[in-house]
C-alpha cells in the first residue's frame, strides 16, 4: 500500500525488549500493545479495557509501568521495554512471580502479568510498602477474580523475598 495521509510510510522502531535489541518497521500509529503481541509474539500483556484503566496490558518502560494499549510504539524508541516474558530467569521464577504462585494470587490469570510487573515497579521504588501504599500503587490494575486479598499478600511476601535477596533480582 502506497504512503498517503491515511497510510503514512512506516518508521523504524529501535528499542530494547527484555534486554535484547529489537529493530522493526512499524506504522507511525502502531500501538505498543499490538507491536508486542502481533509483531514480536509477546502475548503475555493482555488487551482488556483499551482505556488505561485495567492494567492488563502493563509493561515496564525504563522500569515504569505503562499501559501498552494507550502507548504509541514509537514512544518506546531508544528505551527499555520489559514484559512478563522477560521476568523469569534461567534459575526459575522471579521472586515476585514465586510469591504470586505461592500465595494463590492467581485465578484466571488474565490480569496476572500486569500485576506482577506493576509490583516490580512498586517494590523498586518502595521496598517495604504499607497496605495503603500498595493500594495506591496498584489502583491501576483490576482483578475481577481474587478480590485482591491474595494479591495484597503476594506483594507483601514478594517484598520480603526481594529484601532477602538484597535486591539481587533487580539485575537478574
Amino acid at each position: 500500500m502506497r504512503a498517503s495521509a491515511d497510510h503514512p510510510a512506516p518508521i523504524l522502531l529501535e528499542t530494547t525488549v527484555n534486554r535484547r535489541p529489537v529493530s522493526l518497521e512499524i506504522e507511525p500509529r502502531a500501538i505498543l500493545l499490538d507491536v508486542m503481541r502481533d509483531n514480536l509474539g509477546l502475548t503475555g500483556a493482555k488487551r482488556s479495557c483499551d482505556t488505561q484503566v485495567c492494567g492488563a496490558c502493563t509493561v515496564l518502560l525504563d522500569g515504569s509501568p505503562v499501559s501498552a494499549c494507550c502507548t504509541l510504539a514509537y514512544e518506546a524508541g531508544g528505551r527499555e521495554i520489559e514484559t512478563i516474558e522477560g521476568l523469569a530467569g534461567r534459575h526459575g521464577l522471579h521472586p515476585i512471580q514465586q510469591a504470586f504462585v505461592d500465595r494463590v494470587a492467581i485465578q484466571c490469570g488474565f490480569c496476572t502479568p500486569g500485576f506482577v510487573l506493576a509490583t516490580k515497579a512498586l517494590l523498586a521504588e518502595n521496598p517495604r510498602p504499607t497496605r495503603s501504599e500498595i493500594e495506591d500503587f496498584l489502583g491501576g490494575n483490576l482483578c475481577r477474580c481474587t478480590g485482591y486479598w491474595n494479591i495484597l499478600d503476594a506483594v507483601a511476601d514478594a517484598a520480603v523475598r526481594l529484601e532477602a535477596t538484597n535486591g539481587q533480582s533487580e539485575t537478574s
Binding site: T51, I106, G109, F110, L142, R144, L152
Partner: protein, 775 residues
C-alpha cells in the same frame, strides 16, 4: 465443624492446598487465551453495530467496503451462510446478524473480515445503512405498556435446544417467560398477620466484566467441518447450537477452549461463535472476532429487575407468608433470561418456614442489550429485598437479625420447594458463624455504622450430566480428559487432586487436558457451581474405574483376591509386598506400552434431572457485613465482610477461600458501585471502565473473615458441594441489611453515595419501604 459422614481412608491429596496446576503458566505469560492464537491465514473480523435501539433496516450498501483492498468478506443479515439464521439456547429469537430490524443499540448489523484489524476498522466506516426508527421500549415499564411495540412475535418463537423449563405458552407481548408458584393460602396468611412489611425494589443491570472480552476464532475445513476456538464456558452447548445452525452432525463441529480470562456467566452459552463461524464460512478463511470491552458490555449483562414484595409475621416474629412479583429486564433477546427468572423466583421466598408463599416472576424483552447469566443470578436479585423485610419485621417485633433467623430458618431435610430437593445444609449453624464473625454481641464503633447478615439459597448444579476419561500410561502416570472450562476457579487443580487421591499417585504424575470437544468427553456446562460436584464426581468415577482395573490385574499377578489388595504410593500392595503400576501394566499387555482407560459418568440418579426435580444441591448464599457511612458524602465503607463457605468438604481449602474472596468482592461491587446506565434512546452511557466502576484494590474491606463449613453433606466427591456464587449474593444482601441497621433505607441498588446521602437526608416518616403495619 464436625464430619457427619465417615471420611475416606486416605485423603492424601484431598483437603490440602495443592498448588494451582496453571499457576506457573499464568505468572509467566505462557498461558494461552483465545486472543493469543494465531492461525495461518487468519483474518480479522469487525462488526458494524446498530446506533438505534429499535429500527427497520431499509437499505445496506456495502460496495465501498467490499472494494477496499484487504477486505476478504462482507456479510449482512440477508446473506448469512447458515441453514438456520436464528439461534438462542432458550428461545430461538436471535438472528446471527440483524435481519431487516435492529432491537438494541450495539446489535451487530454487518460483519467484515479483512487482512488486518486496521483494514477491518476502516471497512466498517465505508458501509452505509439506512434505518427507519421505531418506537423503543428501553425500560420494563415501557415494554409492558399496553401500546408498546412487540419486540418479537413470541407466539411463534421456536424453543431453543436447552430451554429446559417446560412448555412455552407465551401470550402476544414482550414477556418471554413467566414463572409462578403458590403454596398455602396467601390471603388467609396475610389476613391473620400482626406485622406486614411491603416494599418496591430496583436492582440494576450489571456488567460481569471478565477481564478478557469475548474472543472467538473460527475455521472451516470444506463446508462440513468447523473448528472454533472460543472463550466459552459451555463448549458442548456451543457445539450443539453451531451444529444446529449449519445442519451438521455434532461431531463435525469442534469447540476448543483455551484458558478463559474470567467468565462469571458472561461466557456461558453461545455468544460470538455464530457470527464468527458464519463470517469464516463466508470468507473461506479463518476469522477472529475479538470484542472490545464496550462490545462485550452489549453482548451480555446481568438482568436489571424491579420487584414488589410483602412479608407477613406474627407479633412475636414468626414469619408467616411472603408474596413476590418480580420483573427481569432481559433486553432484546432472551439469552438465559428464562432460567434467570426461574432461579430468581426460586430464591425469592428465602429459606424460611412459610405458611404461604406466592411468587410471580416475568422475563421482559426491552430494547436494550441482551441479559444472561452472571454469578449467583436470581439470588443476588432478590435475596437483599427479602432480607431487608425480615430485618424490618425483627425491628418491629423487638428481635435482632440473628434471633429472627434462628427462629424461622429451615432445618436440614425440610422442604424448600415441593417436588424439589429438601434442604441439605445447616443454615442456623451457618448464620451463627456469621454472627461470630461480625462480633455480633459487641457494641458497634462510633459513627453511622451498621451490621447486617443475610442468608439465602440458590438452586445450583444445573443439569447433572458430565463424563470424564482417565488414561493410565505404561509408566504409571495418569492423564485426565475432562471438558470443564478452567475459568480461573481452579477446576483442573481440584480434578488433579481427585485423580491423585483415587489412584494414590503424587500430583505431579497426573496431567489434566481439557476443553476440546473433539478430544475430551461431554460435560454439560461450567457454571452454577457444578464443576467440583458433578464433573468432579465423573472424574472420581473414571479414576476409580482405573483403580479397579489395576486391582484386577494385580489380583491375577499376586494370585490373590482383590479384597486382599490395596493401592498406595503408585503401587498395589499385599501386606508388605508391593508391585508398582508400571510393572502391572507391563504384565497386562506383555510389553512396555499400552494403557488403561477409565470412564466415569454422572447422570440423574432418578427422574430426568430437570430443573423442577432439582436442584443437584442448594448453594448457601450467606454473608455478613459491617459498614460505615460518611454523613457528608454518603460514601459507604465496608469495614468487614464475613463469608461462610458451606461446602460439604473443601477439596482444596485455599481455592474455596479464594472463591469466597472473589465472590464477596463482586458482591461489594453489585451492592455499592456497579450499574449500567441506559439513556432514553437505549444508549449505554457508561460503556467504558472509566465510567463503569468495578471494585479496585482500594475498595477492599478492611477485614475479611471466611469460614469453611464441612458437614460432608454434598452430593459431590467426598461429600463436597459447590462454591463460588453464594458469597456474591450473601455479601451484597448483607451490605443492604447493614445499611438498614445504620438507619439508611435503600430500595435501589447500587447504594451509591448519592442514594445513601438522599436516604440519610430523607425525613424518617417518608422513607421508602417502611411499609404499613397492619393492626
Amino acid at each position: 465443624m464436625s464430619a457427619i459422614a465417615t471420611a475416606p481412608p486416605l485423603l492424601t491429596a484431598i483437603g490440602h492446598d495443592a498448588p494451582r496446576i496453571d499457576a506457573v503458566a499464568k505468572v509467566t505469560g505462557e498461558a494461552q487465551f483465545a486472543g493469543d492464537l494465531r492461525l495461518h491465514g487468519m483474518t480479522y473480523g469487525r462488526l458494524l453495530r446498530s446506533p438505534y435501539a429499535h429500527a427497520h433496516i431499509t437499505d445496506i450498501d456495502t460496495s465501498r467496503a467490499e472494494a477496499l483492498p484487504g477486505v476478504i468478506a462482507v456479510m449482512t443479515g440477508r446473506d448469512l451462510p447458515a441453514a438456520d439464521p436464528y439461534y438462542g439456547h432458550a428461545l430461538k429469537d436471535r438472528p446471527i446478524l440483524a435481519i431487516d430490524r435492529v432491537r438494541f443499540v450495539g446489535e451487530p448489523v454487518v460483519a467484515v473480515a479483512a487482512q488486518s484489524p486496521a483494514i477491518a476498522d476502516e471497512a466498517i466506516t465505508l458501509i452505509d445503512v439506512a434505518y427507519e426508527e421505531l418506537p423503543a421500549a428501553v425500560t420494563i415499564d415501557a415494554a409492558l405498556a399496553p401500546d408498546a411495540l412487540h419486540l418479537h412475535d413470541v407466539v411463534n418463537l421456536r424453543p431453543g435446544l436447552f430451554h429446559g423449563l417446560g412448555d412455552i405458552h407465551l401470550e402476544p407481548g414482550n414477556v418471554c417467560y413467566h414463572h409462578a408458584f403458590t403454596r398455602g393460602d396467601i390471603a388467609q396468611a396475610f389476613a391473620g398477620a400482626d406485622v406486614v412489611v411491603e416494599g418496591e425494589y430496583t436492582f440494576p443491570a450489571v456488567y460481569q466484566y471478565s477481564l478478557e472480552p469475548h474472543t472467538t476464532v473460527a475455521q472451516w475445513t470444506g463446508d462440513d467441518e468447523l473448528t472454533v476456538w472460543s472463550s466459552c464456558q459451555h463448549p458442548f452447548l456451543v457445539r450443539a447450537e453451531l451444529a444446529d445452525l449449519y445442519a451438521l452432525p455434532v461431531a463435525a463441529v469442534r469447540v476448543v477452549v483455551p484458558y478463559l480470562g474470567g467468565g462469571f456467566g458472561s461466557k456461558s452459552y453461545t455468544k460470538m461463535e455464530p457470527i464468527t463461524s458464519a463470517l469464516a464460512r463466508k470468507s473461506g478463511r479463518p476469522v477472529r472476532i475479538a470484542n472490545s470491552v464496550d462490545e462485550s458490555m452489549v453482548t451480555t449483562r446481568r438482568h436489571g429487575m424491579k420487584a414488589w414484595l410483602r412479608t407477613a409475621a406474627t407479633s412475636d416474629g414468626r414469619l408467616l407468608a411472603r408474596e413476590v412479583r418480580a420483573w427481569f429486564d432481559t433486553g432484546a433477546y432472551a439469552d438465559n433470561g428464562p432460567r434467570v427468572v426461574a432461579t430468581g423466583a426460586d430464591a425469592a421466598p428465602g429459606p424460611y418456614r412459610w405458611d404461604a408463599v406466592q411468587v410471580d416472576a416475568w422475563g421482559v424483552y426491552t430494547n436494550t442489550s441482551p441479559a444472561g447469566s452472571y454469578r449467583a443470578f436470581g439470588a443476588t436479585h432478590l435475596q437483599w429485598c427479602g432480607e431487608l423485610q425480615v430485618d424490618e419485621i425483627a425491628r418491629r417485633c423487638g428481635l435482632d437479625a440473628l434471633q429472627i433467623r434462628e427462629r424461622n430458618l429451615l432445618h436440614r431435610g425440610e422442604s424448600v420447594r415441593p417436588g424439589g430437593k429438601p434442604l441439605d445444609a445447616d443454615l442456623i449453624g451457618d448464620i451463627r458463624k456469621v454472627a461470630v464473625g461480625l462480633n455480633w454481641e459487641t457494641p458497634k464503633p462510633a459513627g453511622i455504622v451498621g451490621r447486617g447478615m443475610s442468608v439465602g439459597l440458590l438452586a445450583a448444579g444445573a443439569h447433572p450430566v458430565s463424563t470424564a476419561i482417565v488414561r493410565m500410561e505404561a509408566d504409571g502416570g495418569a492423564t485426565l480428559l475432562v471438558s470443564s472450562t478452567e475459568v480461573g476457579q481452579g477446576a483442573r487443580t481440584v480434578f488433579r487432586q481427585i485423580v491423585a487421591e483415587e489412584l494414590a499417585l503424587p500430583l505431579e504424575q497426573v496431567r489434566v487436558l481439557g476443553g476440546d470437544t473433539g478430544i475430551t468427553p461431554y460435560d454439560r456446562s461450567t457454571g452454577a457451581s457444578r464443576s467440583t460436584t458433578i464433573a468432579g464426581l465423573a472424574v472420581l468415577r473414571a479414576a476409580a474405574d482405573i483403580r479397579s482395573q489395576i486391582l484386577s490385574i494385580a489380583s491375577r499377578v499376586f494370585d490373590l483376591p482383590e479384597e486382599a489388595l490395596t493401592v498406595r504410593s503408585g503401587a498395589v500392595w499385599h501386606e508388605g509386598e508391593s508391585i508398582p503400576y508400571p510393572d502391572l501394566i507391563k504384565a497386562h499387555f506383555g510389553m512396555v506400552g499400552g494403557e488403561l482407560i477409565g470412564h466415569g459418568e454422572v447422570r440423574p440418579e432418578r427422574g430426568s434431572g430437570s430443573y423442577a426435580e432439582g436442584p443437584v444441591f442448594w448453594e448457601v448464599c450467606i454473608g455478613g457485613a459491617e459498614v460505615a457511612v460518611d454523613a457528608e458524602t454518603g460514601r459507604v465503607t465496608v469495614n468487614k465482610a464475613v463469608s461462610i463457605a458451606d461446602v460439604g468438604k473443601a477439596l482444596n481449602p485455599r481455592l474455596v477461600e479464594a472463591q469466597e474472596m472473589g465472590g464477596a468482592m463482586q458482591g461489594i461491587g453489585n451492592a455499592l458501585l456497579e450499574e449500567m446506565l441506559f439513556d432514553e434512546t437505549g444508549t449505554l452511557l457508561n460503556a467504558t471502565l472509566f465510567e463503569y466502576h468495578v471494585p479496585t484494590i482500594a475498595d477492599m474491606p478492611d477485614t475479611f473473615v471466611s469460614n469453611i463449613v464441612e458437614n460432608a453433606d454434598g452430593p459431590g466427591p467426598y461429600g463436597a458441594k459447590g462454591v463460588g456464587e453464594g458469597a456474591l449474593a450473601g455479601i451484597a444482601a448483607a451490605i443492604a441489611t447493614a445499611l438498614a441497621d445504620a438507619g439508611v433505607r435503600i430500595d435501589t441498588l447500587p447504594a451509591t453515595p448519592e442514594r445513601v446521602w438522599r436516604a440519610l437526608a430523607a425525613p424518617v416518616v417518608g422513607r421508602v419501604n417502611e411499609g404499613e403495619s397492619v393492626q
